[in-house]
Symmetry: C3
């Protein structure tokens, strides 16, 4: 990372408590002048998969620097705290799969360490609050110029926990995809790329729901379900000025079979 | 704008997804060191009028720089993306009326351009996500010193979409105003200025609700409805430690007749 | 404070309106380049006690600078607006008890002033919006290098409104504590320190609820209630991957008797 890097945060802390504020307070104390970005703090509580997908979606736009992800149901257990260098970023967080898809999208990991050097952590008045005491300090120190190897011993990047994102499979003229994400507008992002859906034609059956293959929202009639490529480059089911999630009842993690109608 | 300017944001993106985070990530990438301010991201989804009023209310306190407004139900249609210089600000967003009242409050537009120069936009992996790919990059480049004319061809400021804010009308000793805004405390801001309500006397009938003309919240009994000038300089209906919206049932956009009681 | 300080904010403004954005806009206008931290803006509306406890919890991690707290049901009355120097911080807000526990935790107050000098405030188009017009400007000016004594006349720190946080009392082998806080995970922080609960043994009756004394969440079975020391150094009732608040029905401010079971 080195001087000039930005600290980006993604957590499931929510905004009701002062947890997010403490992350920023720690960076302001340890690395004054270092810029911070809040990607989101509204990942559903303890939903590693949702957090992993959101962090992965952000990768192409992340500023160079440290990227802290915290969705950490295993806090207090023996799960490792890690920092992993890939692309222009050092990803910092629990070793529970949360960081895995983002690291894979950023590039081949160059170095990975286990965050065990207490000199670069904050003392806790009780059990460790890992975001405040371990992860934010590591990110702040990295962006202040501390070398990754100071933070703890090297670990094998191949030992990092993680699952690949399930991608679409092709089945006899149909495409089986998974719902990756429902955004706040109710759009359903699917685990299929433009090539996967190229052969489906203009009228599609999406898990029993008739959908029209379009280029943008605006081509749809109000209330009509559409299949398009979204602004992240993935297939998505959308309703113009409405919610595809409400229209179809589909939820994240569910499989949906796309066929020509 | 020029170096030293701040990028201020107002959108309907909400905080559940990483959309707002991507705006900040883009500014951090394209214009490191440029300061950002989040005015609010909780404008009701696709409610151009509510967004326009909130942005307009902020104008007297905006730092010099670029002001990005995004409430954009027409994304993907032929609506223009624009940047308009007025006062110490360059307003950036869709040309759908959202920016209009704020521009009018900031001063006479000096220059306006259509944001069509792809060199100052980000490539999208799918359809354009205008906030991330067009508006935030334009604001970042402006605050990094790029001249407005680089971003696209000049357009006539008189061609900008927009409606004036409906102001109060005087009717035979009464004032007809509109509810502009219900804030989170339940206060109802009305489209009337102090002069409009000066002649109503100490006891007012506000659309059938008895209200007392006071200077501050604290003069009201608990639960009592009051008519006062709010901290933005507009007439407002308020309940001390309570909600005027709940007490009256009035909602934004509704007309209310104010008469001496 | 002096140059280099950070402005930290804690309010009950919520995030739906542009109130928080205006605080940041004011700092950006009056003190360009000064860093800001949002501790939280989701204190329950007008709940001085909840705000006071949250601000107090943050003290050990606050960056040097100005700390603005606004939960202000008495705005518009004669309650004073104050700034109080203690430790590395100057606390700025209404004199209603909100700041008291945080000031006490930061150290003995060195200087306190009443914020009455209009030269360091913003003119309001109507009644004062104290956060925007008085508190944020005071904090911005302090971090830009204005001396505290410029902001208004000295007041006696002993005259500040405030109640101490109620701590635990020991009763015949039992501990009577109060629920200080329910965080977003449903954990119940109690007004007891590690020493207070050291003699309770491994099985505890917490107001009629059986609880096990553990070191971390992870030692608990799913759904089991535990008594532990939390990451702030206080006793807390927790359920591993669940909500202790839901399991016990306890709410902030309620007393709970802890006894060996």
């Amino acid at each position: 990372v080195g001087p000039g890097g930005t600290v980006s945060f993604l957590t499931d802390y929510g905004l009701d408590d002062e947890f997010v504020g403490l992350l920023h307070a720690v960076v302001a104390c340890l690395a004054p002048g270092v810029a911070t970005v809040d990607l989101t703090h509204r990942i559903p509580r303890q939903d590693i998969r949702a957090g992993a997908l959101a962090l992965w979606r952000c990768v192409p736009w992340l500023p160079a620097g440290a990227v802290v992800g915290v969705v950490d149901p295993g806090v207090g257990t023996s799960r490792r705290a890690v920092a992993v260098e890939a692309g222009d970023h050092t990803f910092v967080g629990p070793d529970n799969g949360l960081l895995y898809p983002a690291i894979a999208a950023a590039g081949t990991p160059r170095r990975a360490v286990s965050l065990t050097n207490a000199n670069y952590q904050l003392p806790a008045p009780g059990p460790t609050f890992a975001g405040r005491d371990v992860f934010a300090p590591a990110a702040a120190h990295l962006c202040a110029g501390v070398d990754l190897d100071e933070l703890g011993p090297r670990i094998d990047p191949a030992s990092l926990a993680g699952d690949p994102i399930p991608m679409a499979t092709l089945e006899e003229g149909a495409v089986r995809a998974w719902v990756l994400w429902v955004d706040g507008f109710g759009n359903l992002q699917l685990s299929a790329r433009p090539d996967d859906i190229a052969g489906l034609g203009p009228s599609v059956d999406a898990g029993g729901n008739p959908a029209r293959r379009v280029g943008t929202f605006a081509e749809l009639e109000p209330g009509e379900l559409g299949l398009l490529v979204d602004s992240y480059g993935y297939a998505a089911l959308c309703v113009n000025r409405g919610s595809a999630a409400a229209a179809t009842g589909l939820v994240p993690g569910e499989a949906v079979l796309l066929r020509p109608a």
